[in-house]
């Protein structure tokens, strides 16, 4: 009994080496080889972007086995959908993935509109494309800052948030909020963009292009970063296929799949933009693909701001808050910042939808981390985790 008894309540910690841990560590430790250290990159670890817990079995510095443990941020949006009206569930969409709220707004409203056969007026379609692409840029900026912070550089995240503030000001003018945006309505959008909204965008894009050159000089061409990223965490097309990983991870594996191009929803077929894909599928590929996507999104926003017609922001006689989704089933998927966001709605025509399934890209992207990080060094495992662009609320839903 150590003499500092107040430090050892209930005598639980007497014999050194008793393995504490909870259900998941014991379940994980059953299959651990003797002599390996079970390390909890715990829910409150600085580099897990929120409340993600990864159980790793370390042999020295090498990660032999890793298993993410989820559920610390599970708010059960799908159960809430069954008790709210279709209209009342819209604010939830902004909170499933607060970095790319517009992508989720689009998936849910479009799933219900597709079921009801609602046609969205022209100007609303343009406003949807503009807000979605601006939201994608701001999501990639946050990812870029946090990813480089994981690799040890403290300054770039401040520069990224510097630019993201302008984006938040622009989007706040139409959506009313900076993070958990609730902008889409059934049949259109909630607010029309006034003149200052478009002038802010026209000012933002050239300034952002200048900043991208600076990012390239400061980080992309930096030799330390290149050595930390190239050739690490290979995820080829077959692995993406087996795990259902989509978005920048799939495009970095050489498959140029993008929902905006393969299934042009909304009016994406009117804009010309390329889908960047990288040949060798390592961390640097995912980094490069996302930086190119910022460039492509800016091209889309430029064309959309030029071509936007005058007109109504929402269809006339648009559904009211008490609107009921017609009976039936519908699946709609949208290209979010992290991958393919799909919403599967089954409705019985009642006040609330019967069952809503939210398919989060992060959920499938994270599932391949166990295989991708086997045998890597701890620092590389953290780099791979960062390159997957994880947002934990979206994974736990």
């Amino acid at each position: 009994m150590s003499n500092f008894s107040f430090l050892n309540p209930f005598g639980v910690l007497d014999e050194p080496g008793t393995y504490m841990g909870d259900f998941y560590s014991h379940n994980f430790a059953k299959k651990a080889a003797p002599g390996n250290v079970i390390l909890n990159l715990g829910p409150q670890h600085p580099s897990t972007h929120g409340v993600l817990r990864v159980l790793t079995e370390l042999y020295g510095e090498f990660v032999m086995r890793a298993e993410p443990v989820l559920g610390y941020l599970h708010r059960s949006h799908e159960k809430m959908a069954e008790h709210k009206t279709a209209y009342g569930f819209l604010p939830n969409m902004g909170r499933v993935d607060y970095l790319n709220a517009i992508g989720w707004n689009w998936a849910y409203t479009a799933a219900c509109e597709q079921l009801a056969g609602i046609v969205v007026p022209e100007r609303a379609e343009y406003l949807r494309v503009i807000s979605a692409e601006l939201n994608r840029i701001s999501s990639h900026l946050v990812w870029w800052g946090a990813f480089v912070l994981d690799l040890g550089a403290f300054t770039p995240i401040l520069y990224a948030f510097d630019d993201r503030e302008d984006l938040c000001d622009i989007l706040q003018r139409v959506t009313g909020s900076r993070l958990t945006m609730n902008y889409f309505r059934f049949g259109g959008v909630g607010e029309d963009g006034d003149e200052r909204f478009f002038s802010l965008i026209r000012e933002f894009i050239p300034r952002m292009r200048e900043r991208l050159k600076m990012y390239k000089g400061l980080v992309t061409d930096n030799v330390i970063l290149r050595r930390r990223l190239e050739g690490i965490g290979p995820m080829d097309a077959d692995m993406c296929l087996r795990y259902g990983a989509t978005g920048p991870i799939l495009r970095a594996a050489g498959v140029g799949h993008d929902v905006r191009k393969s299934v042009p929803y909304g009016i994406y077929d009117r804009f010309d933009f390329e889908i960047p894909s990288y040949k060798d599928c390592d961390n640097f590929g995912r980094y490069w693909v996302r930086m190119e996507e910022i460039e492509q999104s800016m091209r889309i926003v430029e064309q959309a701001v030029e071509q936007i017609p005058q007109g109504k922001r929402i269809m006339d006689k648009a559904p009211k808050p008490a609107w009921k989704i017609p009976a039936g089933e519908s699946v709609f998927s949208v290209e979010g910042a992290r991958g393919e966001i799909s919403v599967h709605v089954i409705s019985d025509g009642g006040k609330s939808p019967y069952r809503v399934k939210l398919r989060a890209p992060g959920f499938s992207n994270l599932s391949l981390f166990a295989e991708a990080s086997r045998g890597t060094i701890l620092a590389d495992a953290i780099a791979i985790l960062g390159s997957l662009d994880l947002v934990i609320p979206e994974i736990d839903r």
């Binding site: 569930f89 604010p91 939830n92 009313g176 309505r185 808050p321």
Partner: protein
């Protein structure tokens, strides 16, 4: 071997480029807005969604346009609004709004047939207890109407805080209880009570 040395030299050059960039930003002006000393300029606040407020009446500034049709109370996902129909005409007797449950989605603003509700631009609302977040918007409308005609919002703290303090909060608490019993709103209110 030569290529390895050449790569390292190019690497060192990229390090120097990185350092010049940070040096340039070292001398660049700062971007932080010091909250107590500088205030966000009202031009950007036009689209800011603060807590709800009742819009002023056309003819009589302190009369609300609300016709207590309960559309907002039914449409609100967070069940924040409790409206009780008053005696004379369609005017509501009590109009309570629980800002602690509100998610600022704007469903009430859009669905109101009489355009009686709108978002205030109060950026600097601070309360210490949850009860203070339950606001009686009728009283708020009267205090604002009394404070004078609509002037461009400077984003400065609104009259409500000035009149805040424990007394007003206690008054509000009774109003909540009495109106809740009277309204007997649909089950959603019961859930809020539980």
């Amino acid at each position: 071997m030569i290529s390895a040395i050449w790569d390292n030299l190019k690497g060192l050059y990229s390090l120097l480029v990185g350092m010049c960039i940070t040096a340039r930003y070292f001398f660049a002006p700062r971007k932080t807005v010091h909250y107590p000393r500088k205030v966000v300029d009202p031009e950007d606040l036009a689209a800011y969604r603060g807590p709800l407020e009742l819009t002023r009446g056309k003819d009589d500034e302190s009369r609300t346009r609300c016709i207590s049709c309960q559309m907002c109370a039914k449409g609100c996902p967070g069940n924040c609004i409790t409206v009780v129909k008053g005696a004379e005409g369609k005017l509501p007797s009590t109009w309570l709004y629980d800002f602690s449950l509100c998610c600022l989605c704007g469903a009430c603003v859009e669905v109101c047939p009489a355009a009686a509700i709108d978002f205030s631009h109060r950026l600097y609302l601070v309360t210490t207890t949850r009860e203070e977040l339950v606001m009686d918007l009728l009283a708020d409308l009267k205090s604002r109407a009394a404070a004078g005609p609509l002037k461009p919002e400077a984003g400065a703290p609104e009259a409500l805080e000035a009149g805040g303090g424990a007394a007003a909060a206690a008054a509000l608490a009774e109003a909540v209880k009495s109106s809740k019993a009277a309204a007997g709103a649909a089950g959603s209110a019961v859930r809020k009570e539980g």
